[in-house]
């Protein structure tokens, strides 16, 4: 049993999805889905412990040894991603029933749970697999189900956003497939470790260059790296609040991991950064993302949109860490992946509470919320401080590593730019806080009750985690720095 954990983690959510459809009852399917996600979380904790103790775990699908068969390969890097994806999925899903009642008619709840589980399956599969083509398969599973999730949004604009995402997402997927095809053409293998080894011997040539380019573009679309981000703000804004909390913390993060996997595992530092100068492309783009997205965020009037643009900026930070191609930089990137997932889902869950009670996330409608829903507003402030990067919050830790990495690599101006761009975060978060605490509620405002504990509980768990991981960094930094070392210095797999 225990050696089958890598595949069980993917299979259990996948097989629970049809069960949800069969049951059709909202509460039953919620129970089923919840069991599956928490099981996946327990599995990834178990996997983390095993990887820390025994090193990389390889699971041969169907008993076919790699490189012929498909391999699930759990190492320090992706077990960390598995952990955050399952953790966020579980916590967010715990808050689901009340939030869904507000936004989706109850005869379609079971579809939501099924799509949610399938999306999770895809994300976990993409993360765990050691096979390049398999990455594409799981990518499509997660993409298709996330289109469904977004289209469940309460307004008709959700459909439009889902369609926009579908077009962009398909393009991204196709690019990835193209790249994988080219790599297969050059190396004759689909196993990622094998591919990496053969490419290293082969050295750079035009096909490899093109493959790198299309894979980077494809993954950048999926993680919404500026300027390929157009789908994200609408998708986040018009999706149901809960879906946003889930996708913001998982989908873009896994896409980022996919980029890390291809760049460091397949191409390798030597090829990607020394021969093909990937950093010269990614670093400016990342810095532009940090500034432009944060600036746009300041001018939004919908809080969901503010946070969506903030996500774009945060992706810039992660990519910046990657583009430095150093252990510290990548540590910063991976730590920020983890920390940002927690902070952003906390913020979006707090917004889900707001939607539940006032049915809107317009800044104007949130006036006086500090008095009317004190716990929700306080949760927003707590997670918001994390996003700004106030010391003793998780956001500070990631920023610390990014600045340190920039200094280490001798990019002084970049260090300054990281800090200047985080000032923009102060502005867009503070705008919301000011409205919530300093403006009187609208005159026609109905009396509000605080959000139910079934939603506040998960929100506050994530807010607590924001502070916990700002104080105790042995898990995040400990694992991430080892993982980064593994990726950059290419220690024996």
């Amino acid at each position: 049993m225990i050696e089958h954990l890598p595949i069980l983690q993917i299979l259990v959510p996948m097989l629970t999805a049809p069960l949800c459809v069969l049951s059709r009852r909202p509460l039953v399917s919620w129970g089923l889905a919840l069991t599956a996600t928490w099981f996946a979380l327990a599995t990834s904790i178990q996997l983390l412990i095993r990887v820390l103790a025994e090193g990389t775990q390889s699971y041969e699908l169907g008993g076919w040894p790699p490189p012929w068969g498909i391999e699930l390969r759990i190492d320090l890097v992706n077990v960390f991603v598995l952990l955050i994806v399952t953790a966020i999925s579980s916590v967010v899903l715990t808050a689901a029933p009340r939030s869904l009642e507000k936004e989706i008619s109850s005869d379609r709840h079971y579809l939501f749970y099924a799509a949610y589980l399938l999306c999770m399956t895809g994300l976990l599969g993409m993360t765990a697999t050691g096979d390049a083509f398999n990455v594409f398969v799981f990518l499509e599973i997660s993409s298709l189900s996330s289109y469904i999730l977004i289209s469940l949004g309460p307004t008709r604009r959700a459909l439009h956003s889902a369609f926009q995402y579908l077009v962009m997402g398909t393009l991204g997927g196709t690019f990835v497939l193209l790249g994988v095809g080219m790599l297969y053409m050059v190396t004759g293998t689909l196993n990622i470790v094998d591919m990496g080894a053969r490419l290293g011997d082969l050295g750079p040539n035009r096909t490899v260059l093109v493959a790198l380019a299309v894979i980077v573009v494809g993954t950048s679309i999926k993680m919404a790296l500026f300027p390929l981000h157009a789908w994200l703000p609408n998708a986040y804004t018009y999706a149901p609040a809960l879906v946003t909390a889930f996708l913001a913390a998982t989908a873009t993060k896994v896409a980022y991991y996919m980029l890390v996997k291809f760049v460091f595992r397949v191409f390798g530092v030597e090829l990607a950064f020394t021969a093909l100068r990937l950093d010269a492309v990614l670093m400016p783009v990342a810095i532009l993302a940090m500034f432009i997205a944060s600036t746009v965020a300041i001018y939004q009037s919908d809080v969901k949109r503010i946070l969506a643009y903030s996500s774009l900026a945060q992706i810039g930070y992660m990519v910046l860490g990657l583009s430095l191609a150093s252990v510290t930089g990548l540590t910063g990137g991976i730590v920020h992946l983890f920390n940002h997932a927690i902070m952003k889902s906390a913020l979006f869950l707090a917004l889900a509470c707001v939607v539940l009670r006032i049915g809107s996330t317009q800044l104007n409608d949130m006036r006086g919320l500090g008095r009317r829903m004190p716990l929700t507003a306080a949760a927003f402030v707590g997670a918001g401080l994390g996003l700004i990067g106030v010391p003793m919050t998780a956001g500070f830790v990631s920023k610390w590593f990014l600045v340190l990495a920039a200094l280490e690599s001798g990019y002084w101006p970049v260090a300054v730019l990281i800090l200047l761009s985080s000032l923009l975060a102060v502005i867009y978060i503070w705008r919301v806080i000011e409205v919530m605490y300093f403006q009187p509620p609208p005159d026609d405002a109905a009396k509000l009750t605080e959000a139910p504990w079934s939603m506040l509980g998960p929100t506050w768990v994530l807010v607590g985690a924001t502070f916990y991981f700002g104080i105790s960094t042995s898990l995040t930094v400990g694992v991430a720095s080892q993982a980064a070392d593994l990726l950059v210095n290419g220690a024996a797999p």
Binding site: V390, W400, V403, L407, E408, A415, V426, I471, S472
Partner: protein
């Protein structure tokens, strides 16, 4: 109790007080105020009787709370400079609480519980800054002060309060993230630690003009020290209720800023390094400029609190100047000025508050003859003014004396002239208030409304009188402060 755990407890103590205050709430306001007073006095007892003797005996009580990253710990270590700051903050907290009770009740202010909670949090932040064992810990509590005083600045919730809050937060947080954080990471990157160590940690690690740049990042990053051009937040924050201006903008917040600059100069750079490289020369000029121009602006302000705010900006630069001169007298004089100016300036703010509560006057031009109706308040104002100006027998004269000695030791006659001119200017902006109060004839007739006879609550009169007496006492007890500061290991 050992002094090292007492240091950690001293930081936690106001937090506990804040929790008690929050739990008691508006319904039990007398108990709530009692909770603040008990916390404040027990804090002073803790600091003065448990920690102080150890530090005077040359001990450095140390307490490590937790390690966030390798080499980056939340830790406390008490040394003389921090000891002095902690003593000032905790003793003035008691008096300010008394004043705040009188002021808030006399004025029927809203949100009094929130006020006292944030106040206690800010004091916890100040003690954390005082006892910080490394730049990281200092930074954490520095930000905590900013965040906990923001609700105090915006206390009234009006449009102007909100605007002031934006300036306050924007400048303080902006500079700390953009400059101070960068300086800290740089220090960590260069020296592998951010610990405060006697003689500094940067010698041989950062060289040449980079040293001056790093010092600049620190000096401007601590905008709480109100060096120009990052001083705008201080006048803006005057929109807050006067007790806030008193404690936070004469003591806790601004002194946390200059304290940080002093501590960085002494324990991160080391005065020897600064002296041999001359990396702090430019800072003396910036400080001198701030000193003179803020004094000049103060002359032009008719609003009493605004005038005091600019006076504070100017006086803070004395301390920065002392640090930038980087010699023994400069460190001692600057550090002593932290205490001396705090007591003097808080007296002035108390008086401004008492005048506002009693006579509803904020503009100096309206205060003609008010001194005859409020003799204690204006008497205290006179004593406080003289101390800030630096006239014996008042505390402020000592710190200015040592600062003058420092310019002499540095052979920097221009700076000595600057100090003298600024003292003259401070006579110019403080004395007219007293003169107008006592000697000008009051305006007639139109004061027939219900405020015709000023009546300030005794809770608002007592504190300035007490601190005015404190100014006199400090003149005679400056010796013990000098002895304490002499314990700073500079090399």
């Amino acid at each position: 109790m050992s002094a090292s755990s007492a240091a950690a407890l001293a930081v936690l103590w106001p937090l506990l007080g804040a929790v008690c205050v929050a739990l008691l709430g508006e319904k039990r306001r007398n108990l709530r105020e009692a909770a603040t007073l008990v916390t404040a006095s027990s804090l002073l007892v803790l600091v003065a009787t448990v920690i102080l003797p150890e530090v005077q005996a040359g001990e450095r009580p140390r307490f490590e709370l937790l390690e966030v990253l390798p080499g980056l710990a939340l830790a406390f270590e008490v040394e003389p400079l921090g000891m002095l700051f902690a003593l000032v903050a905790s003793s003035l907290w008691i008096i300010t609480t008394v004043f705040a009770i009188g002021y808030l009740r006399g004025h029927d202010e809203q949100h009094q519980t929130r006020f006292f909670v944030c106040f206690a949090l800010a004091i916890a932040g100040a003690l954390g800054v005082a006892f910080a064992a490394n730049v990281f810990t200092l930074f954490v509590f520095y930000e905590a002060i900013t965040l906990s005083t923001y609700p105090l600045v915006t206390h009234h919730g009006t449009e102007s309060a909100k605007r002031a809050g934006r300036v306050y937060l924007g400048i303080l947080m902006g500079t700390s993230i953009a400059f101070l954080l960068l300086a800290m990471v740089w220090t960590y990157f260069a020296a592998g630690t951010t610990d405060f160590r006697p003689g500094g940690i940067l010698a041989g690690k950062v060289e040449g003009s980079a040293l001056a740049v790093l010092l600049g990042l620190y000096a401007f990053g601590t905008a709480k020290a109100a060096l120009m051009p990052f001083h705008r937040w201080l006048p803006a924050a005057m929109v807050a209720p006067t007790p806030v201006s008193a404690l936070l903008h004469a003591v806790a917040v601004v002194k946390a800023g200059v304290f940080t600059v002093m501590k960085i100069v002494v324990y991160i750079f080391g005065i020897d390094l600064l002296q041999t490289t001359g990396a702090s020369t430019w800072l003396t000029w910036v400080a001198a400029f701030t000193l003179l121009s803020a004094s000049t602006v103060a002359l032009t302000r008719n609003n009493l609190k605004a005038r005091l705010a600019y006076s504070t900006i100017s006086q803070l630069s004395y301390i920065v100047l002392g640090a930038a001169l980087a010699n023994t007298w400069g460190v001692i004089g600057g550090s002593m000025h932290i205490a001396m100016h705090a007591v003097g300036k808080i007296t002035l703010f108390f008086c401004a508050g008492a005048i506002y509560v009693g006579a509803h006057k904020t503009e100096i031009s309206d205060m003609r003859g008010l001194g005859r109706q409020m003799p204690f308040t204006f008497g205290a104002f006179l004593v406080g003014s003289l101390s800030v100006i630096g006239v014996p027998p008042l505390g402020g004269s000592w710190s200015k004396w040592y600062l003058a000695l420092s310019t002499a030791e540095a052979d920097h006659l221009v700076m000595m002239a600057v100090l003298m001119i600024s003292s003259l200017l401070s006579i110019g902006y403080l004395m007219p208030v007293v003169g107008r109060g006592f000697f000008a004839t009051p305006e007639k007739a139109e004061t027939t409304d219900h405020h015709s006879t000023p009546r300030e609550p005794w809770l608002c009169v007592l504190p300035p009188v007490v601190t005015a007496v404190g100014c006199i006492a400090l003149f005679f007890f400056a010796e013990s402060i000098y002895q304490l500061l002499n314990g700073i290991i500079l090399r």
